[in-house]
């Protein structure tokens, strides 16, 4: 237990405790392993904020925070517009294809969306992620769509920009942590 040595509480100490001085905004919060539930929910509902990326790294370091994040993610998917649909991985919704140039692609289909991962070059160092939404709104056209994926117990975020006709696209480099997740059947995808 990480107690102060020979610890005790006096009335003056109690006062000091309950009137804690407002701490300086922790610039070093990324070093911390503790996040509030509000931070976690904010990470889900506002993935476009810079803090969300930082928080996601912290979430991935803790089993407890990952559990809470999953709860928030599941709940969020059913909270908002029909465009925000959660999709779990099901084999029948996976289609692996290989074209004439031996470029392989994977298609994941969930209720209200379809996401396709296409090999961008022959060396397989990059791939395109193309998302098609049945319904989308102007805000999504402007900000793009954020997808979360859960792969090997960790969460990753993908930001896709609007192209046309309900399609959103991004290029994923093989150095990106979730590169392998795109081809894995067990990956869970969530559309925000």
């Amino acid at each position: 237990m990480n107690y102060s040595k020979s610890a005790f509480i006096s009335i003056s100490q109690l006062n000091a405790l309950v009137n804690l001085p407002m701490p300086a905004k922790s610039a070093d919060k990324s070093q911390s392993n503790i996040l509030s539930m509000q931070d976690i929910v904010n990470t889900v509902i506002a993935p476009h904020l810079p803090a969300s990326n930082r928080h996601l790294k912290i979430i991935n370091r803790s089993i407890l925070l990952r559990k809470l994040f999953k709860t928030a993610l599941d709940a969020n998917a059913s909270f908002y517009s029909p465009a925000q649909i959660a999709a779990s991985s099901e084999l029948k919704h996976n289609q692996k294809q290989t074209d004439q140039n031996f470029n392989s692609s994977v298609v994941r289909i969930g209720p209200g969306f379809e996401i396709k991962f296409i090999q961008a070059n022959a060396t397989n160092t990059e791939l395109y992620a193309i998302l098609k939404l049945d319904e989308y709104n102007a805000k999504q056209e402007e900000l793009g769509v954020f997808m979360h994926c859960q792969w090997q117990e960790k969460f990753y975020m993908l930001h896709l920009q609007y192209t046309s006709n309900g399609k959103f696209q991004t290029l994923i480099d093989q150095n990106f942590a979730m590169f392998e997740a795109c081809f894995d059947n067990s990956t869970h995808w969530f559309v925000n």
């Binding site: 610890a7 003056s12 059913s78």
Partner: protein
């Protein structure tokens, strides 16, 4: 004299719990506003640190029941709680009111004017009723929401939204499955489920706080110490006075407990000062260097591990172990509070035996329990030093066979700490250094990389024989170590009970440290004449009076 007591930061609360309170204060909404008011976080911290959270849990259980049932049982799930507390501004009075008002449009509504029934002008506002199920109703007013289950009524004012949300924010980190458990246990259930959930929450909090807060009784005791020592500081006299004045308080009857608590208090106080000094140093303030004192060189010794000394190898008997256990636990404070240490050794032991006598209903005359005086105690300490030295001497021949390097280090230390050999310690170091450099050089010439313990021992024993022939003091020293071993037939010192080299190394380290402490105490008691008969008689009189008040009160 203690100063700056008021500036104590938070002691007695784990770093994690402190961080969690900080986190609540820092928690922000998407627009960058703080989610919880300072007042709410302070109130929650008070509830938790003072362990006064049962009513809060009871209220919280009702509140969650209301949130879960506001939109009807069929539509409700754990997402209701999540969206209320973290998405739909349920932390805010207005947000909370809006939630319940909005719920009305989804539920079967009935409007009542309660003003006539209540006869209260404030209550004359329109109340709307959400009939959740048979005999379960939510009454929504402008300022509050009232739950009615059969005859049971519970009202929550919307101004409580912030602290209850604050509790939820903290609780979910403590109990990750909270939303699921609450939903499963409350949905469609009645008052008994609400009460059961409140009890369950209390248990969870109790278990968590058990790891992050000092026990309540201990806190109370420390508050007592704080109030007492605030004006007079901690010294041997004030410790005795504290015990005299508070001996009827729970946990303060035994002098040994009071001494330990007082020392713990003093340590905490010092830590606080050290922290303050460090902060000043960082801020560039000049710090007046403390004058040299007898304690300075002991600062690094925190505590001494003596567990092995009763068995592996056996150095002490039970009585000797009792005598050194306090100084092993508090090496620096045993010196600082030498007078208290003497009182502990004589009177605390007597008190333990008196307590046993009371328990067995065989209480003897109190003076019979005091078996020794201060001079006897000092003599006992001198004997312990002698026992330590003999044990250390006996370890040398054993270590020579197990680990030459450790044997050399031990012999140097013995030389340094034994008066008659002290002058030769520099020469001994020189001899050992010469031996090791020659040994390594010899190996290099022979191009042998095998520096086995066996080769080293052989060479070392040869060198020792030469030194014994050349230096009479060295011969005497070695003979003395061999004699000590011959005379010692305790466990670990005979051929049949030999132990690993690590046991001896660790034991030697502890014994050397203990010798250092005991010698300081002996020096101090002699210098300040602490063990005088006058001192002992005065203390005996005080302790006997107190003991008789404590243990033979009824007979009077």
């Amino acid at each position: 004299m203690l100063t700056n007591q008021e500036s104590y930061s938070v002691l007695g609360v784990s770093e994690q719990l402190k961080q969690e309170f900080m986190l609540l204060q820092e928690t922000q909404l998407l627009d960058g506003q703080n989610k919880f008011s300072g007042k709410s976080v302070s109130a929650l911290a008070s509830h938790l640190v003072c362990r006064n959270y049962s009513n809060l849990c009871y209220e919280f259980s009702h509140y969650c029941w209301m949130i879960l049932h506001a939109n009807g049982v069929e539509k409700s799930n754990q997402n209701n709680l999540l969206s209320f507390f973290w998405v739909n501004n349920g932390h805010h009075k207005a947000g909370c009111a809006a939630f319940f008002q909005k719920s009305l449009s989804h539920a079967q509504l009935q409007h009542h004017h309660l003003s006539k029934q209540q006869g209260n002008e404030k209550e004359s506002t329109l109340a709307t009723t959400i009939r959740v199920a048979n005999n379960k109703t939510l009454l929504v007013f402008n300022e509050k929401v009232v739950l009615e289950i059969n005859e049971h009524q519970f009202a929550i004012h919307f101004s409580r939204a912030n602290i209850l949300a604050c509790l939820m924010e903290w609780l979910i980190l403590v109990v990750p499955s909270l939303l699921e458990t609450m939903t499963n246990n409350l949905l469609g259930q009645g008052t008994s489920a609400v009460k059961e959930l409140a009890t369950w929450l209390q248990k969870q909090i109790y278990a968590y706080l058990g790891q992050h807060l000092q026990p309540a009784k201990l806190q109370k005791r420390y508050r007592l110490l704080n109030n007492f020592y605030q004006s007079r500081g901690v010294d041997c006299q004030s410790i005795l006075s504290f015990w005299q004045q508070h001996k009827f308080f729970e946990g303060c009857a035994k002098y040994s407990n009071v001494l330990s608590d007082s020392i713990a208090f003093d340590c905490a106080n010092k830590l606080e000062h050290e922290y303050a000094n460090a902060t000043n140093l960082l801020q560039g303030d000049d710090i007046q260097a403390d004058s040299q004192s007898i304690f300075d060189e002991m600062v690094t010794i925190e505590s001494i591990d003596i567990r092995g000394l009763a068995n592996e190898p056996k150095v002490y008997n039970k009585k000797q172990l009792e005598l050194v256990s306090f100084m092993a636990q508090h090496p620096i404070n045993a010196i600082k509070y030498s007078q208290s240490y003497l009182r502990l050794a004589i009177f605390a032991n007597a008190q333990s035996r008196i307590i046993q006598g009371v328990r067995d209903s065989k209480l003897d005359i109190l003076t019979n329990y005091i078996e020794n005086d201060y001079n006897g105690c000092v003599q006992g300490l001198s004997n312990v030093v002698e026992v330590n030295n003999q044990a250390l001497m006996a370890m040398y021949p054993i270590l020579t066979n197990l680990s030459c390097k450790h044997a050399c280090v031990l012999l140097i230390k013995l030389c340094q700490h034994t008066a008659c050999y002290k002058d030769y310690s520099a020469k001994l170091v020189e001899l050992f250094n010469q031996f090791y450099s020659d040994f390594e050089a010899k190996l290099a010439v022979q191009e042998k990389s095998d520096v086995s313990e066996c080769n080293l021992r052989k060479a070392y024993l040869e060198a020792c024989t030469n030194w014994q022939a050349s230096f009479s003091w060295f011969n005497d020293l070695i003979k003395q170590t061999e004699d000590s071993l011959k005379m010692n037939n305790r466990k670990g010192f005979t051929k049949q009970t030999l132990l690993q080299s690590g046991n001896y190394v660790q034991a030697a380290e502890s014994l050397l440290k203990l010798n250092q402490i005991i010698n300081k105490i002996l020096l101090l008691t002699k210098k300040q004449n602490m063990a005088s008969d006058e001192n002992f008689d005065a203390d005996r009189s005080i302790f006997l009076t107190e003991f008789s008040e404590l243990y033979i009160q009824d007979e009077k």
